[in-house]
């Protein structure tokens, strides 16, 4: 593979791109580089945005120009070569109710794949997913790791409103809508936990690099969690050092 490339996007953003595709290896490089920049003391960086295969930096054009930023980024890239920090991983377990009232497209999936609802839930909950990035909407996780047997095309006509917490499938991706919004994903369930809360110090429940597991819950458990009877204990977070 060729080394990373650096290019501008307009006159306020520089991007370091690590590869041409979505892979765990690229993801690790992105995570490592993002951490280095975020911990650096470079002045004038306004936003640092890691994605599937790149880290973008919005810089203050009053202080910096692209050539300066490129030089700084190149220096940091050289540093990453000899800094192999180990990153600890979290596994976050998200409770999901797969009842028809929350998963209006379960029927469609059963017909499309010729499998039972029970199998859909099993295939969806037995995987461990990787949060490749957060983007699109506040707190929205781009997840990798969907079982190929659940790969389902997007709806032909997107819904005008998808309730917040909805869990869906689009192509080979699965995800959770953190907010009510329009959307074309096949909805198979819903989580009562909130993925985005601007009042918290950490507004998003999930972070890039987290591992994620779905856990099937009953309608009754859903309502208990929704009403706050179980507090924060519903989200299980386990740490492991690599």
């Amino acid at each position: 593979m060729n080394g990373p490339t650096i290019y501008p996007v307009g006159d306020q953003v520089a991007v370091v791109q690590f590869g041409e595709d979505i892979s765990k290896d690229t993801h690790e490089q992105v995570m490592l580089f993002e951490k280095l920049i975020r911990n650096s003391s470079i002045k004038g960086l306004v936003d640092i945005i890691p994605t599937y295969h790149s880290v973008a930096v919005y810089y203050n054009w009053r202080v910096l120009q692209f050539d300066h930023v490129r030089a700084l980024l190149e220096e940091m890239l050289a540093e990453t070569e000899n800094s192999k920090t180990s990153m600890s991983k979290r596994t976050v377990t998200i409770p999901v109710c797969y009842d028809e009232q929350y998963g209006p497209d379960l029927d469609h999936l059963q017909q499309y794949h010729q499998i039972s609802k029970k199998d859909i839930i099993r295939l969806h909950t037995e995987q461990i997913y990787l949060v490749y990035m957060i983007g699109f909407l506040p707190g929205f996780p781009y997840l990798g790791g969907l079982n190929k047997r659940l790969d389902t095309p997007r709806l032909e006509t997107p819904r005008a409103t998808v309730p917040s917490g909805s869990v869906g499938i689009a192509g080979n991706q699965t995800g959770i809508y953190p907010l009510e919004s329009p959307g074309g994903w096949n909805l198979i369930g819903r989580t009562p936990v909130s993925l985005f809360d601007p009042e918290q110090d950490e507004p998003t429940l999930l972070k890039m690099g987290d591992l994620l597991r779905f856990q099937s819950i009953s309608g009754e458990e859903y309502r208990e969690i929704e009403q706050g009877q179980l507090g924060n204990q519903v989200i299980q977070i386990e740490w492991e050092d690599e």
Binding site: V9, H53, S54, P138, Y142, P198, P203, T204
Partner: protein, 303 residues
């Protein structure tokens, strides 16, 4: 002490509190938001001797009315929406005294589409993730509604009316704009004819909101293979083209990342032009070098 300064009688099409936005949260998927026309906001605040990033009221199109609850000093910048203060046309890009009970009305757009009512000391309101800018979709504030009373902080601040922007700094809002574009690294995903076509075509703005605007022309642009890319960042002014071949320009409330091929990004010093273009307005694009864009920025005294 902040106290009620102005009441919204009629919000018109869309009215919200905006400052210079909330950078620093895009890695969480939170849009930057902030004033669509940052130049107008910054100039209004400078004339009032406010901090440049003080919050103001963004008024869209018109049909809007305010009532002042106490005496004070304001500065209206941005679009000329036929504003009247106490029945008289209000001077723009200039600090103006208002008195308790006076009404400020914006009828309809004459030039531009977004006006800023900046107030001495700035509008005070809830701060979400470091900014007062409204981004309703995620519950970061809400649009303004009839009956809302807005607070301002003014104690100890002394400023006088009649402070105006020097004429050479006044922007001119037109129905036809030329936007300068720094090409995207994905330009070669489009056919050469399409790139040429893009830069010599007169596009029409079909519709727009704070998130972005759609442009249209007779011919769609063609991608070599696919319109889809691995999701990547989308700064203000980024021109993305989905498989329908018509460009869309991303603006203040845009999503943080996007999965469509991009042709380029509008240079910072031209952002206000697209923020003030009405639907039906014409857009031409000019391909420029990053070096040129940076040179213009250097000579530009704004945000």
């Amino acid at each position: 002490m902040a106290e009620a300064f102005v009441k919204v009688v009629e919000p018109g099409l869309y009215m919200s509190i905006q400052d210079l936005g909330r950078p620093g949260y895009q890695h969480m998927g939170v849009p930057v938001s902030g004033a669509m026309d940052r130049y107008a906001l910054v100039m209004g605040n400078r004339l009032l001797n406010n901090r440049e990033d003080s919050a103001a009221i963004e008024v869209t199109f018109g049909g809007a009315e305010f009532k002042f609850l106490r005496d004070g000093l304001i500065c209206v910048t941005g679009a000329n929406l036929n504003g009247y203060l106490g029945g008289e046309p209000i001077p723009m890009w200039e600090t103006v005294s208002v008195t308790k009970g006076q009404k400020l009305v914006f009828e309809r757009p004459k030039t531009g589409v977004r006006a800023y009512v900046c107030v001495l000391g700035g509008i005070q309101s809830s701060v979400y993730l470091g900014s007062q800018s409204c981004y309703e979709k995620a519950g970061l504030g809400r649009r303004l509604e009839a009956g809302d009373q807005l607070l301002s902080e003014y104690e100890g601040v002394h400023m006088t009316p009649g402070n105006r922007l020097s004429p050479e700094l006044l922007p001119t809002y037109t129905q036809e704009v030329t936007l300068r574009v720094v090409p995207s690294h994905l330009e070669d995903r489009f056919t050469e004819e399409s790139v040429r076509y893009f830069y010599r075509t007169n596009y029409t703005m079909k519709q727009g909101d704070r998130m972005g605007c759609r442009l249209e022309s007779d011919q769609p642009l063609n991608h070599h293979t696919s319109a889809d890319i691995i999701s990547s960042v989308t700064p203000f002014g980024t021109i993305q083209v989905a498989s329908n071949g018509q460009p869309m320009i991303l603006l203040a409330d845009r999503q943080t990342t996007g999965g469509y091929t991009t042709l380029g990004t509008i240079v910072t010093i031209d952002h206000w032009k697209i923020a003030q273009l009405p639907p039906g307005g014409k857009v031409n694009f000019k391909r420029v070098d990053l070096k040129e864009a940076e040179e213009w920025l250097r000579h530009w005294r704004e945000a």
